[in-house]
């Protein structure tokens, strides 16, 4: 009985992991799009510092305390910017 329970538990965990993998795969495009939007939002606000047309910097200053996630995404995207096509191809799982 105990062995049966263990096996059942293992199967459940396996199925759960499988479902989660499928969920991650299904939402990867949406996740990518969301990160792009968050990156654009941060860039629009802070782009003035690198010459992109932006709203007056005091607006950016008022919002800056609440933009931690967007800044993290923006810095991560900056790292990715050396090979944007590579990361897009990776996301689309093209070999």
């Amino acid at each position: 009985m105990n062995e049966k329970m263990k096996l059942l538990h293992l199967l459940r965990r396996g199925a759960k992991t499988l479902v989660q993998v499928q969920r991650e795969k299904a939402t990867s495009m949406l996740d990518f799009e969301l990160k792009e939007l968050e990156n654009i939002f941060a860039l629009l606000l802070l782009g003035g510092f690198v010459g992109i047309p932006s709203p007056p910097s005091p607006i950016a200053i008022e919002l800056l305390p609440y933009l931690e996630r967007e800044l993290v995404v923006m810095f991560a995207r900056t790292d990715m910017s050396v090979d944007p096509i590579g990361s897009l191809v990776g996301m689309l799982e093209i070999d």
């Binding site: 939402t27 969301l34 003035g48 709203p55 910097s57």
Partner: protein
Amino acid sequence: MVSPVSHKTAFFLGKGGVGKTTLSASFALTLARSGQKVLVASLDPAHNLGDALGSALKNEPLTVEPNLDAMEIDLETWINTYLEESRSQLKSTYSYNVTLNLDSLFKILKYSPGTEEYAVLWAIEDIHCRLSPLYDIVVLDTPPTALSLRFLSMPTISGLWVKELSKLRETILEKRSTLVRLNPESPVKESCLDKDDDKVYGKLSTIRQRLSMLEHLFQKESFINVIVNPDELSVTEALRIKDELDRLEIPISTICLNKKGVLNNEWHIHQSLAAIPMFSFDFESSGIRTRDQLIQLGTQHLVDTFLDKRSIPA
């Protein structure tokens, strides 16, 4: 019952040196001596309102005579207070403030484009919300044209930015909640998903409300006087002011021809300004040194027009 138009704030605009401070001081004095409780404030970083009124003024209202308070806005203080507030808020929110190197960032921001115009806006907002209820009328002496037009246009331009940023934020929040609905284990679940909880969206809404309040003040509740001298340069600048204010839908209430008679050559006001009510003030060759001389400039007709306009039903 219809309520009267609440023209409570009068602005004096024009080219540098045309007499904005003199006329705003004279206008405020005439109003105060006619029994209205008046605040006159200078927004010009190079103040001389205190010189015109013969009193040393500060960043807070000072009674210069019965019914008349005056102040000179210190933009530097406004900029520093604002940046300090934002900095302490940032430090309390971010765990990695050292990496951001906040001190050097804020040193740059002090001189960043838009900061001075915003400081003027914060000062006007403070006068409008905190001080204006204590007075019958507020008179604002503005900086020369370039800075004045920038701060007058700021609510409209920034309003557009904030509107677009709010739309983008709404899209982000929608995508986040869709993502979490499809994948409840997504790391995005730690972020805000709802407009009511999102501090960025809330802050954008607050900024939008503040800007639209100022836009409404400039467009609907202000008595805008543009000062010209009988010379081509000041009139050309007045035309530029009119074009810009037309674009911003801010109506000019009067044209004040100051220093009339200073030049003998033939001179005409431009056609597009001719339709606006005009008031003339003679050139005082001996200069204006006392408050009584300010009164003798003859702003009574201008004051009457302003008070009439205030009582017109909406």
